[in-house]
């Protein structure tokens, strides 16, 4: 009994417990209140259902959350990701587009530039956006909120310039595969997230990047005195965040088959920050868990889908979302954790007591 109690305790102390707990509660709710929520079916070799839909829709947010986690761990924040997402989408859509040609009398769309070139350019520009943020914040010491606010505003303008104020429609079909294609029965974008997450985990666990990041996020002065290149590490975080926003932008553009510089990724930076927080990460920097943030992104997307599915009137969806977020956040707070711990303890104690009684 004693060891079991201890195990319970350790489980609760684990950072991933709370995001998973929140996700489970939401899913249990959906199981009871939304008919057919867990229904999966295979159509033409592809898996379909609400669950798949949530994961698929959450992939851009997962990318943003991964980048945001690193930036927040370094003690900063990046609110420009929505605009970078729009820039990346605009570039890829514009470069691919699709010109109608007739081959042997059959109509057929071809890309303006090879698709890989377009993606490469979009990602390079996104990384440059991140490097710009890094220049302001890591090198020049601008406050992170203010520094990335510049790109939040300017970036949307740049995206509109790229598409000349129009919504660019993409006709070239192979491009759609990124955001809405299926591979081995599952949405292709899930594999992208998995691959990128693997890369980041490798960087964090197999190089000293993770240790250095937690160190500078916890105590920047000590880290500098200990010989860590604080600027370079912060710079890397913003560049990675830019890259993540770039990938998310391509996925979004591919999914909706167009680039809308006005509306793509508006307010998504807030969902990204929310994912990081619901993933059990501290806004103060230091210790972090990228996996937690990815789960956090799933929580956010599940919540959004749930609210639409149970038919909350559109004009109050935001309010309902905010209320649920507050509840989840309170449970994860120190006070909430203590209450839950106490409940676990007493219930474990009661079980112990009952067993003893039964024995007697």
């Amino acid at each position: 009994m004693e060891t079991r109690n201890k195990m319970n305790r350790r489980l609760i102390d684990h950072q991933l417990f709370w995001p998973l707990f929140a996700l489970t509660v939401l899913l249990v709710f959906d199981f009871f209140y939304i008919k057919g929520f867990f229904h999966l079916e295979i159509i033409e070799g592809h898996l379909y259902g609400s669950l798949i839909d949530i994961v698929n829709r959450a992939t851009p947010l997962m990318f943003l959350a991964i980048g945001m986690t690193l930036v927040i761990a370094s003690g900063g924040i990046d609110i420009s990701v929505g605009s970078v997402l729009a820039i990346s989408g605009a570039i890829s859509a514009l470069m691919i587009g699709g010109d109608l040609v007739f081959v042997d009398g059959v109509q057929h769309y071809v890309a303006r530039y090879p698709i890989l070139v377009a993606i490469f350019v979009a990602l390079v520009v996104s990384v440059i956006c991140g490097i710009w943020n890094g220049l302001l914040i890591a090198k020049l010491g601008v406050n992170a909120m203010v520094g990335t606010l510049i790109l939040l505003v300017a970036g949307r303008g740049i995206a509109q310039l790229i598409v000349d104020g129009n919504v660019i429609t993409v006709y070239y079909e192979p491009f759609f595969y990124i955001g809405s294609g299926f591979f081995l029965g599952l949405p292709f974008s899930i594999y992208l997230v998995a691959a990128f997450l693997g890369l980041i985990m490798w960087l964090i666990k197999k190089t000293a990047f993770g240790l250095f990041l937690e160190s500078i996020g916890s105590n920047r002065v000590s880290s500098r005195f200990t010989g860590l290149d604080v600027q370079k590490i912060m710079w890397a975080c913003y560049a990675i965040s830019g890259l993540c926003a770039g990938i998310a932008g391509i996925i979004v553009a591919s999914e909706v088959k167009s680039a809308d510089a006005n509306n793509a990724g508006v307010f998504i930076e807030l969902d990204a920050i929310l994912s990081v927080v619901l993933g059990g990460n501290s806004m103060a920097g230091g210790r972090f868990s990228v996996i937690g943030s990815v789960i956090g992104a799933l929580v956010v997307q599940t919540l959004t889908t749930t609210i639409y599915a149970i038919g909350v009137p559109p004009e109050i969806t935001m309010v309902v979302k905010a209320l649920v977020v507050i509840v989840i956040y309170l449970i994860q707070s120190q006070m909430g954790k203590k209450t839950v711990k106490r409940t676990v303890k007493t219930s474990a104690g009661e079980t112990a007591l009952k067993t003893q009684e039964a024995k007697a």
Partner: protein, 506 residues
């Protein structure tokens, strides 16, 4: 004789912070028309005493009288209303407001429901004129020099109330002429009957301007003395806590067990190294196998020297040789790559990373030296951490404990472990034993000597003279941001060090 004319009297003041007796039964007395220095090393209780008087902190026992009436200021707002004003070390004004706004902020005179700007400007000019300062009071504060800003702060203090003026380290950022001007004003205010409490680390200034000295040490009152009757040597002895008779004894006994292995060759040599504003250019040479001390009072330039040597503050003059090669050290990374290590005096803010574990803290500098790619495996990390936990007797249930949860002494040992793990040729230790208990102190001192005997160079900075004398084979003495001398071998006695700091005056 001193009973008449008393302006402020504090009796039996006690103030406790968790685990520390900041003030233990301290008396203090300030008279009209007197400039009164409060002296003591870091942590002696000077600032706590001032904070109690100004209502920032509340005393637990004891009483305060102002002109014979008992007072007990509960907030920093109450003291000025009673007639006690303070000017702090860092000018705490608003640089982006005008001079006049700064003088009247928070207490603007109102006429017909509006701020009376004419009144503000006129009264500001009068207040400044009293200090012999004439300037455009509508100009922004940051257009003026720090010295002028200091004057504005004083003018504000005087305009609020004018019985007791407290000046907390007002001269640390002023040049000689500005200091002279400030002193002239202080004397003028004194002649007007004001009582001035003056806190400074510059002993010269204590002798130049004050009438009385109150000395504190470790939260206790050492005594109150007439400045003219207390010589510098006695003052330093009382601040540091050594009796003169005791010194004579130590001199006879003084046998140096350190510095024996010295002169295995010079490891670090700097000529005319300096940084404008923080430390005047100095020469220094440190040999392998030697413990070199940097002595001096707080703010004398000893820590500043160490920071310039380690590249925390980029030197703007001088030439550095390490192992006979000419090198440049502009950042801590440069220094670490050349085999230097630096334990800061500010353990919490510049040393430990509280949210990381003991293991992570210990390997941090080594990993920084290796770079990001060559990440130590978990097993290697654990081996290194275990080794130093054992070697330095770090008391902890596990190396996965967060460093923030350890006691001060154990945190200090973790820092030492962090640097020892990099296998440094020159280890700079700034106050390595501050705030740790006697047992841990002795262990650290033993370690310092042991490192030297292994052929490493150690640069030691400590406010505790007996520690310096016990450990150092050679010693550079600092005063007023300048290196003023060096002591060798048997010359190193507490008395000699104090004499050098006092400027050779007995």
């Amino acid at each position: 004789m001193r009973t008449e004319n008393v302006l402020v009297r504090m009796e039996g003041i006690c103030k406790e912070f968790p685990g520390v007796k900041a003030l233990d039964n301290v008396d203090f007395e300030l008279r009209h028309g007197e400039i009164h220095a409060v002296c003591g090393e870091n942590g002696a209780g000077k600032s706590t005493l001032i904070k109690v008087l100004t209502g920032v902190e509340q005393n637990e026992r004891g009483s305060i009288y102002l002109e014979g009436n008992p007072i007990s200021p509960q907030t920093p707002m109450e003291a000025p209303a009673l007639g006690i004003s303070t000017v702090y070390q860092e000018v705490n004004l608003c640089p982006n407001l005008s001079v006049a706004e700064n003088i009247f902020i928070g207490r603007e005179p109102i006429k017909h429901g509006k701020i009376d700007w004419d009144e503000i400007n006129r009264r500001s000019e009068t207040a400044l004129a009293r200090l012999n300062v004439k300037l455009d009071v509508t100009g922004r504060l940051d257009e003026y020099s720090v010295a002028i800003q200091q004057m504005v702060a004083i003018a504000r203090a005087l305009d609020i109330s004018a019985k007791v003026l407290i000046l907390d380290e007002p001269t640390s950022s002023l040049n000689k002429i500005e200091v002279a001007n400030l002193f002239r004003i202080m004397r003028k205010l004194k002649s007007e009957g004001m009582g001035i409490i003056f806190i400074t680390h510059f002993l010269e200034q204590v002798y130049e301007v004050t009438d009385q000295i109150t000395i504190l040490r470790n939260g206790k009152l050492v005594g109150q003395f007439e400045t003219a009757k207390l010589d510098r040597l006695q003052l330093i002895a009382k601040m540091i806590g050594k009796d003169l008779a005791e010194f004579e004894k130590t001199i006879k006994e003084s046998v140096h067990d350190a510095g024996v292995a010295a002169n295995e060759g010079v490891f670090y040599k700097a000529e005319q190294l300096g940084q404008q504003g923080s430390i005047n250019p100095f020469d220094i040479e440190i040999s392998k196998g030697e413990v070199m001390g940097l002595a001096g009072l707080l703010g004398s330039g000893r820590t500043e020297s160490a920071r310039v040597i380690f590249g925390i503050d980029e030197p703007d003059s001088g030439e550095i040789h390490v192992d006979k090669n000419k090198v440049t050290i502009k950042t801590p990374v440069d220094a670490i790559r050349l085999g230097l290590a630096f334990c800061s005096e500010n353990r919490k803010t510049e040393g430990i990373v509280a949210n990381l574990t003991i293991r992570e803290n210990i390997i941090l500098a080594l990993q920084g030296k290796r770079g990001m790619g060559a990440f130590l495996t978990r097993k290697e990390q654990e081996e290194i951490a275990d080794k130093y936990v054992k070697l330095l007797n770090i008391v902890t249930p596990s190396i996965e404990q967060l460093v923030g949860n350890l006691s001060g002494g154990n945190q200090q040992k973790v820092l030492l472990a962090r640097w020892l793990a990099t296998n440094p040729e020159l280890l700079i230790l700034d106050e390595p034993t501050r705030g740790i208990d006697i047992g841990a102190k002795a262990e650290v001192q033993k370690l310092v000597l042991q490192l030297a005997s292994e052929g490493r160079a150690v640069l030691l900075i400590s406010s505790e003279l007996d520690e310096m004398v016990r450990c150092c084979g050679r010693m550079a003495v600092y005063k007023d941001k300048q290196k003023i001398g060096e002591l060798n071998g048997t010359e190193i006695t507490e008395l000699n060090v104090m004499k050098t700091i006092a400027g050779g005056q007995n």
